[in-house]
Symmetry: C2
Subunit: 459 residues, 2 copies
């Protein structure tokens, strides 16, 4: 009975170890498992999660450092997404129940109501050389505009050649004076077009080259004093906040078409509560956080399945949600002339080449099932899944409540832990059709079925 | 040559399908793979990612809906974390290179400087019943305080029994008037202590019960007019924004002890640039986003490995970062009396029981290697890894620059794609010791070594 099992502490306390990263994978696992009550079974469990093909496993091992096994993130699919009149089956990697089901449900709902439409607003990426400078700003600005800027472009040509061939590259570089906020603080603020790649390595390599060129030119110029030549580069780094790498996705239909097929609610009731729920998420940060969290359930599951970086996408989306000075919903709704429109506007910096996109076999599969989209098409698909997720979540919340579906999953999880038979499952699931699931009540019913007073008797 | 392979579009366009969720896993895969150029090899690839033990795979399949395979998220470990004088080896699940290495590096660095210290500030969780009410607020407030509130507690007793036995439960319920922001909008604002569970199901079940009790009592009371009795529950939902489920983690040492062992920089230079880098992330949202993204690299990798919900943690952390009205860094630094102190304050709502924590074998392993922590201990470990990650990132940024490490990994990834031999790898890695890695240059060197003009010749 996993559920009631006494959790043994480690048999041996962890101790420090030097040179760990240099050990083989097997030696790392042996050292680690040596602290467990049953080292052999721990080692076996870990290795049971390896891929059978050693070369494939080696590939996965090398993505990060000190890899010992694979964490399985369930990989599901949601069919029936009609986006800009094209049909997609969307790959989703996520560990949370109900998310794929909610996406698929929203896809079905909108399939017969015209599907999803998207617009790319812009695709600009951003990076900075942050530096301190003790001297005259006007002089620096003139030197930058008149002399340095062109050099920054030309000395980065080796780095930008491939990107330029694909239609991208450095868009602009500006000198920004931030001394009103922090003494002596300035930036080179650079914008980039990175085409189908997310572009982090490209941008960071360009920025580091900018800083070398910039510093050298200042040092070699007679215009600057010794103090001014001590210009200090603090750091060169892309920004994950890309408000100008922005997409809008929307659904829209006649209000009457929102009527529930099962007639559990009228379209008037639905629209009224749906609008209120979205307005609350516009004005109440406590609600906006959870509202956007649901959107990110959908977005992240596509981001992960397609080999993109969900921390970057999360950080950007939430900063964008806070841009007005108050943390707000990423989606909005309006009803005009009998037409219901629900939309999301979200910055998404994604890539379909580079990184692990062509290395991870499951990612290659995911991109293939989407028809090998470019970055802009992937932005569209991802934003749509976020919007779909939010639509389903709000629909549940304002009608049956969210717990009905969640607690059904919760109940199945408890029954799995109990290793209940099919017959026991059926009987207990039936019981909870009209009652709130509690862990204690499930255990009580289970014990009753097995004719015992407590789980302890079953050990 | 994966890297240059022509990407074929799907052989057959996606079409809509009804009843997909009812199909067996195998039938789902067959339908999906039927669109691929080579359906058999696509099917084989997917099933090669299944666990060998069918029962284990079934468990993973059931976590979500429409599961067809597993996305491998590399599972690595970072040893040598000394936290509150106890040693930990930390499990990290993440697909991004350099993150585990950076964590391990920071752990080693602070191991000999007193390790990490943490303080739990508070552990309160939050949920709301959002509702509309057309009537007299004072009357509602009196009725709530004098009559309903006690009933909300007592009628939820079945739901809260287990949680109360563990020392948790409902802490308080308040009626909040939000009509200054949205007409007729009110909340029941409830606070909870959920002990070692994250508590989402518990809180949502309580809130839905509150709404039933509340609505019934108003309807049955003679105090209210017909219009007032039409009180409309919009939704019942926990908030993922939990600023009062808060932890602080810090490191501190004498400034001289920050001297680089390799003497590449002095402690004065390091402290100066480190302080500036943190200050920039306090005042410049473009930088704060990326700064916090790095922190979340560390936090999420522990959150995922321990079976927690990273979307919830992300949404909460970023809303917290924006709480002042401007999006800011989650970490801060000070130097006082020759002592350097670097800390993070971050809300983290985590569980070590419930959800998939006792179901996912890799999660059980992760929790066992941490010695089966309670939720508060897991908050400490997770916050520490976020702080460690940020320390390593800033240290790289203000000294050698971040690209040195990144581009080494990038190079290895390209060489993997090229399926370069060990000898070819060594030669190419050596070349880039003093030169910036570009994709084009790697291909050029590789072709040179193989005596061809382009990769096309190798097919």
């Amino acid at each position: 009975m996993a559920i009631e099992k006494k959790r043994n502490p480690l048999v041996k306390d962890m101790e420090s170890i030097s040179g760990f990263s240099k050990l083989s994978k097997e030696a790392k696992m042996e050292w680690l498992c040596g602290h467990f009550e049953n080292p052999e079974s721990a080692y076996e469990m870990l290795s049971s999660y390896w891929h059978n093909d050693k070369a494939v496993q080696k590939l996965h091992d090398e993505f990060i450092e000190n890899t010992i096994s694979n964490y399985y993130m369930p990989f599901g699919v949601a069919p029936n997404f009609l986006i800009n009149n094209k049909m997609y089956t969307v790959p989703m990697a996520i560990e949370e129940s109900s998310v794929v089901a909610a996406a698929a449900k929203a896809a079905n709902f909108w399939l017969n109501r015209g599907g999803f439409k998207t617009t790319i607003i812009s695709t600009t990426k951003i990076g900075h050389v942050h530096f301190a400078y003790w001297g005259d700003y006007e002089k620096l600005l003139n030197f930058f505009e008149g002399h340095v800027k062109a050099l920054l472009f030309s000395e980065a040509e080796d780095l930008t050649r491939n990107m330029r061939a694909r239609g991208g590259g450095i868009k602009d570089i500006q000198l920004i004076n931030k001394t009103d906020e922090e003494p002596n603080y300035y930036q080179l603020y650079a914008t980039f077009e990175t085409c189908d790649s997310m572009g982090a390595n490209f941008i960071n390599s360009c920025l580091e080259q900018f800083s070398r060129t910039f510093k050298r030119e200042i040092e070699n110029s007679d215009l600057f004093t010794e103090r001014e030549k001590e210009l200090q580069v603090i750091m060169c780094i892309l920004s994950n906040y890309t408000p100008e790498c922005l997409i809008r996705a929307e659904v829209s239909c006649k209000v009457e078409d929102l009527e529930d097929e099962k007639k559990e609610y009228t379209w008037q009731e639905f629209v009224d509560k749906f609008e209120k729920a979205v307005h609350i998420a516009r004005i109440e940060p406590y609600r906006a956080t959870t509202h956007n969290k649901g959107i990110m359930n959908g977005i992240d599951s596509v981001v992960i399945a397609t080999g993109n970086d969900f921390r970057a996408v999360e950080a950007c989306a939430h900063t964008y949600a806070a841009k007005s000075g108050r943390y707000r919903s990423l989606t909005d709704v309006k009803v005009e002339n009998g037409v219901f429109t629900f939309w999301i506007e979200v910055p998404l910096s994604l890539g379909t080449v580079g990184g692990i996109t062509s290395l991870h076999p499951m990612v290659r599969f995911a991109l293939e099932m989407l028809g090998h989209p470019g970055a802009q098409e992937l932005m569209a698909i991802t934003a749509v899944v976020g919007l779909a997720q939010n639509f389903s979540a709000l629909r549940s919340l304002v009608t049956s409540g969210i717990q009905k579906g969640h607690m059904k999953m919760h109940l199945l999880n408890i029954l799995n832990q109990l290793e209940a038979t099919d017959e026991e499952r059926k009987s207990i699931v039936k019981y909870f059709e009209h009652d709130t699931v509690t862990h204690a009540k499930v255990i009580e019913l289970f014990c009753e079925l097995r004719g015992v007073k407590s789980l302890a008797e079953l050990k």
